[in-house]
Point group: C2
Chain length 479, copies 2
């Protein structure tokens, strides 16, 4: 078990240094590597396989809701980006700019897409003419670039992978419904697939997306109480349509502007998985996205029959699960800690004594609990164990979220919580951005996460200025 200990010792303790723990897990679980390109990462096979599972699941959800995938150019002519005033102001500071192409200075500079509203609008102008052309429900899986000063793998990188939905509708009502539908789609995905609970709600004016009328957000809480903006869904009204002169002839033969939405989630979700579920032994992956759902570790594998039975076990389970049999010559102890580090939800141990009794040992990555299970109905046992892992992860994260959410009824209480209780703060707010600015300044970074859909009335006055409160806001520090 020497190797085992050594491997585990290489991870910094979460309690000592959460940031270092995160970096250690990313590196030791072989999710990502640094590259020579400032702010850009290499997503390694194990990390990319998680992303493929995420894509596969989300893409099916999008298509069930009628969305179609497209691909837009990665470059945006500068003049195109400038068409919507708020939008360009929001993104100009973080753009990467191509100025040379084919060894010539370009007549017009090209922006590497930070997001693609402008490109979709240019195309929509070409293809939307009549109400018969609506709705358009397009989505794109691609890479985008936002120049970042300080970066961290998955959480904040200059280039990242994401999906961006861009839809056009006849009416405001339809577009607003779409905005909410896709927020709920993300919420379901976080709960059902990632086993991550979250606060959902509307962003304040100050925190809205550049160019949006409304921004809705899903805000999970990481293990250390810090928030992560997990996904957003925007209602644009007809602002972009007007800026890009996209019109259609309606059912009464009148010219109208269509109503627009966009919504997106990114590889940053992999950061959320790590920081929501991980523990002292490394990563814990929700079964829905785990590249290996079940690892089989043979015990005394040199003994006759062990690898045979282990191989048959793998074949049986492979029909329903993503399974790996590790028959390498590393010690069983090394394998245990290796797949714990990699967050494999369920481990099966099988050795001569297990084979004699037609059973194996099933170990949960969440609880570490060992159960002897019969080989006769092993697929059902594994299925149930994976479901338990999912539920336990969700419940544990939900408890963490609840335990680290505090109500502030006064300015002093707000400051005390910000100082001493990492997590979410619920507090009443007058609606004035000046109060948001002040609370952020005095706390060194506590921002409004959102106005949650379920606003408990926990006071009458703004915790900052004392004026009449308009909303209950959930506040917190963010990644």
């Amino acid at each position: 078990m020497a190797n085992d200990k050594k491997l585990v010792e290489q991870i910094t303790s979460m309690d000592v240094d959460f940031a270092q723990w995160y970096t250690d897990v990313v590196k030791k679980a072989e999710l990502a590597d640094y590259s020579g390109v400032k702010g850009c990462m290499v997503i390694r096979p194990y990390g990319y396989a998680i992303w493929e599972n995420i894509q596969h699941d989300l893409d099916a959800r999008f298509k069930l809701l009628g969305h179609e995938n497209v691909y837009m150019p990665m470059f945006i002519p500068e003049s195109l980006l400038q068409k919507e005033k708020d939008h360009v102001e929001g993104f100009a500071p973080e753009c990467a700019v191509v100025t040379i192409g084919g060894q010539n200075q370009l007549a017009e500079r090209l922006i590497v897409r930070p997001t693609s509203e402008t490109l979709f609008c240019e195309h929509y102008k070409n293809i939307i003419h009549s109400y018969r052309d609506l709705p358009k429900l397009y989505n794109q899986w691609c890479n985008v670039v936002r120049w970042e000063k300080t970066t961290r793998p998955f959480l904040r990188t200059s280039e990242f992978l994401w999906q961006e939905g861009h839809t056009m509708h006849e009416t405001e009502e339809e577009a607003r419904e779409e905005t909410m539908r896709m927020l709920r789609c993300y919420e379901d995905f976080y709960r059902e697939t990632l086993a991550i609970p979250a606060v959902v709600g509307r962003k304040t004016e100050k925190e809205k997306f550049a160019g949006a009328k409304e921004t809705y957000t899903i805000e999970p809480m990481m293990h250390n109480g810090v928030a992560l903006q997990g996904g957003t869904s925007h209602y644009f009204g007809d602002g972009f349509a007007r800026a890009f002169d996209i019109t259609y002839t309606d059912r009464e033969n009148k010219i109208q502007y269509p109503h627009q939405t966009s919504w997106g989630v990114s590889t940053r979700m992999i950061g959320a998985i790590i920081m929501t579920h991980g523990d002292a032994s490394g990563l814990i992956l929700p079964p829905g996205v785990a590249p290996i759902q079940v690892v089989i570790v043979p015990i005394a594998q040199h003994k006759e029959g062990v690898l045979d039975v282990a191989g048959k076990l793998r074949d049986t389970l492979s029909a329903r699960f993503r399974v790996k049999l590790d028959d390498s010559d590393n010690s069983a102890g090394w394998k245990f800690s290796q797949y714990e580090m990699k967050g494999v939800p369920v481990r099966l141990e099988i050795g001569p004594r297990d084979i004699e009794s037609n059973s194996c040992v099933l170990v949960s990555r969440v609880t570490g609990e060992k159960t002897v299970v019969s080989l006769d109905n092993i697929a059902e046992e594994v299925e149930a164990a994976l479901a338990r892992v999912h539920d336990e992860l969700y419940e544990r994260a939900q408890k963490n979220l609840e335990a680290k959410t505090h109500d502030a009824h006064s300015y002093e209480e707000f400051l005390d919580i910000a100082e001493n209780h990492p997590g979410f703060t619920r507090a009443m707010w007058c609606g004035d951005p000046a109060c948001e600015d002040k609370l952020k300044d005095v706390t060194g970074g506590v921002k409004s996460r959102c106005i949650p859909f379920h606003e408990d009335h926990i006071g009458d006055t703004c915790v900052c200025c004392g004026k009449e409160a308009k909303h209950m806001v959930v506040w917190g520090r963010q990644y």
Copy 2:
């Protein structure tokens, strides 16, 4: 049928202007649209769905062969691209260059990846240390940019989508095997999924990939006799490994350089599909990648029961095929020509009389042949019809390739074929690049496609210089 005629008339005849026919099909079948970004296209839902089917099929083939997907940064620092001399010389003229990031002039210019050998090498240097770390069988699905002067949708665009495999091996032998394995993988995919035959072989020195020791290629012929480089697989030797100082400790504890390959195919395959299989009525899609494999067109759909039965038919077939029921209020004639234009391989027509006789009419997109088939075993009928479409497409393309391949035994014959017989020319060659240059110059563009694996000995002397011949080469104009 007025609509029908009108729609068909909108496509230019292949015989009058093949290039315009191609452009018409791309536009009318809604595969792609032009964008405001020079040389970049919008891939529309129908075109992107073809790409998704291609990806799905190829990705499964790669994974069966043990490959893993990864994601590398899209930017390459200029100094990194320059590490391998031949490589940078090949790509420097077509680079897009980022010089500004976050509103600051960058200290080092970043190249938007034209291909990712250098990034993979940088990463491999970090993770390859011992023979135990080999082989590394990585693949990446991504966008790349090569600045092009004249562009055409799918065939040649400044940005395109592709996959690039990059593998590292202990020995030259293993790496050479991998190079051939992946060429064969592409050949199988072209034949089994795209129904496209091709000449396969080795590129001459002059036509090799920048930095490769050997380049192998798959060269299908388009309907008009012009070649399209359909996919390439490269053996690099240890050239990049030396340039990037990638070493490993071998089984005898000696330091060695690993041997490398790369291989790729791109969205240009969609261009190959269009130009190999299309006809006067538009696109014809091989069933393996068709977004709609079967379209159901109800006849007299206002009559009682028709849409019910058509709906049930769709539900029955959807379990096994990609099916669309078009119950819109367009005329049946319009629908016929619309889905012919879109290249749907099989059409089912079902009306009151068909329902009475428990049958429907099955129409093949390739032959136009109509067959009355029973509804009782409709899934088997459709399956067989799709298989026939695939085989007919392949055979037709194979016949075209054979009919448009000519042997040249002399310089004069070579010029005559180049002038009067569009297609492939088989001719003996001495091995001197000067002869390749001369033949290209005098014919205005006929280049060596490859030295095919099956070299028929059709002469003793080079058709160009008359010296002793070393190889039989297949020559042709290319897209």
